[in-house]
């Protein structure tokens, strides 16, 4: 035990660091959430790890050190519960919806999903392997016609960045990505796509600090921050 502690300290870690894994779409909101939490709990340092939810699930199954996990859909947490990598009850954190977003200058002049049938447009979505890509496929299926995507990005942040750079004319991102883009993106179409619920869970049910962070995130102060970043109450 003493050896392990020494090794960790020499790597620049310390016992007070709380490891929070969160979906890419939560990056902006959770960075602010963590800063606010640290101000209220000066003895706790938070380490954030953002990636596609499926990728985070793999990391947890492979034994990554994690105290809190916030995923972009319920199914991924369900898989962790099933495989035994997780044995604590998740809580609903926020809701989010997929929207069709375009750069603020709208270079492709997209105003309705029907415009996506044009071959001249550069259109993106997340890869089908991550939640935002699954939702995009559902949205397209509901539209009833094929959309010829030009790229399926590995996570939603890289997709949003391509839209902000105007390399793409339109893409299916979360409402929160549009809100978090500081006006670089606007919503072209906001159809009747089902909301998706983000769960959050303290991986170790015995950990007071992990529980405190989950309480904070799902409490009024946490929700207020999350709403500012475009998320909705669950």
């Amino acid at each position: 035990m003493i050896l392990t502690g020494g090794a960790l300290t020499s790597c620049g870690q310390n016992d007070a660091a709380l490891q929070v894994f969160a979906a890419s779409s939560l990056a902006g909101a959770f960075t602010e959430l963590a800063e606010t939490f640290e101000e209220d709990h000066p003895d706790t340092e938070i380490r954030l790890n953002f990636a596609g939810s499926s990728s985070l699930r793999e990391q947890i199954e492979d034994g990554a050190t994690v105290d809190v996990f916030a995923s972009a859909n319920l199914a991924i947490v369900g898989q962790l519960l099933e495989s035994g990598a997780l044995n604590n009850k998740p809580r609903q954190l926020v809701a989010n919806t997929i929207v069709l977003a375009v750069p603020a200058s709208n270079p492709g002049q997209v105003s309705a999903p029907g415009d996506l049938q044009s071959d001249d447009l550069a259109i993106g979505a997340c890869a089908a392997q991550v939640p935002c890509g699954e939702l995009a496929d559902q949205a397209v299926e509901a539209l009833g016609y094929d959309v010829a995507f030009d790229t399926r990005e590995p996570d939603v942040r890289s997709l949003a960045a391509r839209l902000e750079d105007e390399e793409l004319d339109a893409g299916f991102v979360y409402r929160s990505d549009v809100v978090g883009s500081d006006g670089a993106l606007i919503i072209a179409w906001d159809g009747s796509i089902d909301r998706t619920i983000y769960p959050i869970v303290a991986v170790d049910p015995e950990s007071d600090r992990a529980g405190a962070f989950v309480d904070f995130a799902t409490g009024p102060d946490g929700l207020a921050i999350l709403e500012q970043w475009g998320f909705e109450r669950p």
């Binding site: 990728s55 790229t151 399926r152 590995p154 391509r162």
Partner: protein, 266 residues
């Protein structure tokens, strides 16, 4: 030139033997881990799935294309660097070998800022022709060439510098034009090195990930090469990701065996 006498029967010092064995394990263990995860029972199904076949074909075609571009542009560049003493030669050499050291994702971002639809050079081209490199097959080739060509340049320049120039001088004194000397004397003499540089560039292209995903995006059948397919499949279907990884190990082994005579001789 005399070669040092080989003393094969010599007993290796214990410390060198131990560290050497640790080194061997360091490379062997990851492959043991990979092989243990291979879904042997349905391997054929997984490897022949549409995603994998598309990615394999795209990887092979784009890497071959990139290796050829590397030869066409890289050999003249290597010759200039080896033979012509022009001002700023060291700067040029640093520039064209920089991608060997640079993280590929940085290279991909730089390509995007230069040749993207809103890039410094890509912007005017798009406005004039509506042609864009990102999200296209040619974007993959460009990303591959960017990271792979330095390997060919370094290999070929080294060979040119080690060449006995008296053969070229003799040909020139017989009235052969400078281009003729290059084509009929220099190129045949550096043939083996050129071949090695070509295969190195091809292999580097085949494994390219960072620059490709950043610059060319990820679309099955158009820009999703094998490494990209592994990356996205790892997030959902482990079996598929492991099977593609195995496929890449096999292709890499074939390349190594093909190069065996080049690197393992003596």
């Amino acid at each position: 030139m005399t070669r040092p006498v080989q003393r094969n029967r010599q007993r290796p010092p214990g410390i060198l033997l131990t560290l050497g064995l640790v080194g061997v394990l360091f490379f062997a263990l990851p492959f043991v881990g990979l092989l243990r995860r291979v879904p042997w029972s349905n391997l054929v199904d997984v490897v022949s799935s549409e995603v994998v076949v598309d990615a394999l074909v795209l990887s092979l075609v784009s890497s071959t294309m990139a290796a050829l571009v590397c030869v066409v542009l890289g050999v003249p560049l290597a010759w200039l660097l080896a033979r012509i003493d022009f001002p700023g030669r060291n700067v040029v050499r640093a520039l064209v070998t920089l991608p060997m050291v640079l993280p590929p994702v940085v290279g991909g971002a730089a390509l995007l800022f230069a040749f993207g639809r809103r890039g410094t050079f890509g912007g005017p081209i798009f406005d004039a022709t509506t042609f864009v490199l990102p999200f296209s097959f040619w974007g993959v080739v460009v990303a591959n060439v960017f990271v792979a060509m330095p390997f060919l340049i370094v290999t070929v320049e080294g060979a040119l510098r080690g060449l006995d120039q008296r053969y070229e001088d003799a040909a020139a004194s017989l009235g052969v034009s400078p281009l003729g000397v290059f084509w009929r004397v220099t190129l045949p003499m550096i043939g083996p090195s050129l071949g090695a540089g070509l295969v190195l560039a091809w292999a580097r292209s085949l494994g390219e990930f960072g620059a490709t995903v950043t610059f060319a995006g990820n679309l099955q059948g158009r820009t999703q090469t094998l490494p990209l397919a592994v990356f996205v499949e790892l997030q959902r279907d482990r079996d598929s990701a492991v099977a593609i990884s195995l496929l890449m190990v096999v292709v890499s082994l074939i390349v190594l065996v093909a190069l065996r005579d080049r690197w393992w001789r003596r």
